[in-house]
Symmetry: C2
Amino acid sequence: MPPAASPEPHVATRRHDPERRNRIIDAALAVIAEGGVAGTSHRRVAERAGVPLGSMTYHFTSMDELLHEAFSRFALRISERFAERISAATDLDSLVSAIVNIVHDDLAAGQDELVLTLELYTLAARQRAFRQITHDWMRRSRAVLERFVDARMAHELDALIEGLFIHVSLDPAPRSRDLTRDAVRRLLSRSP
Amino acid sequence: MPPAASPEPHVATRRHDPERRNRIIDAALAVIAEGGVAGTSHRRVAERAGVPLGSMTYHFTSMDELLHEAFSRFALRISERFAERISAATDLDSLVSAIVNIVHDDLAAGQDELVLTLELYTLAARQRAFRQITHDWMRRSRAVLERFVDARMAHELDALIEGLFIHVSLDPAPRSRDLTRDAVRRLLSRSP
DNA sequence: ACGGGATATGTACGCTCGTACATATCGCCA
DNA sequence: TGGCGATATGTACGAGCGTACATATCCCGT
């Protein structure tokens, strides 16, 4: 086959194509969301990404490295959306509304985020390297919240959001948006 | 060897010895705490419990059944201790102190509980059968809290406890007991 | 005492897995 | 254009897995 013009001109010496690596990472997240870390294997990820098995060990020295990169990317994505929604608030009232939306809408958006979040927490509970990811994630969340409240309140608020999200997700008992709104508002209130 | 007198007299027709089954379940929890659900196998649990591999499939039709029983027992244990500590409170102030102790001391007691809790949540996020366990667990927690606050507040308080526990556990940033106490107190306060 | 059903165990099969490594293909420079 | 590192892939190996099932052991009623 005659070599067609390269679709994208290479810059200098392109030694490495990051696109393939990225596809593998995204495929890994999809596989994890579907079957959990327990059900994730090089072969499954390779199939999902449309790459040969050999690519796995070529691009990632180990499964742990792949998981680490995948969850880092995931945490970053969630952080970005969190920041967007929170930053759009203009005062405490709209901050409360933004939080309520985050807690309830992210859930409705699909189970995948819940699953990936909990899989990450599970890894973090046992391995220091993954705890760094959750640590950075929480730090970013607090930094965003600190545009509206002080550092102490940001800690508390972030924890409440976490708990509400998990309980809304894992408990079929009806939990209205009103309840969430009340809880957030009361936490934000000045002590009597 | 001459048959010595049976150490415990059997009641009527003892068809089945629950002790072995119990040992297997406890061994499963230990193995899960150590290596996660992902690293749990029939063989590992059998070795830990000191029973032959064949006992696994004899007492439990599948790995899922074993996991289900193990996590049910775990959730019940935690619930019982939660109930004891909360019920010992006499007023709202001592309730707050009890909650602070639960959030901070359970963590110090060891990582095992955190790990097992998150492993359970992870399963619950994907499988209805395990979500029933978290559902019942949360219902029991609320029932205990409702001795002090109304149902709505019990929901909110339970969620806050969850979030604080996880954030204290998964984030190395220093989180004092004072901060926890403040958050709980403020959530419990009447709206201004 | 002993036979037979209930209870428990050892073993082997087929499968999936991570990984190593020999091989193939590419892309650039002389 | 030719060739040679760099980049990428296919394959095979050994280990660990769940599970089925033939066999062994126990216990009780007769």
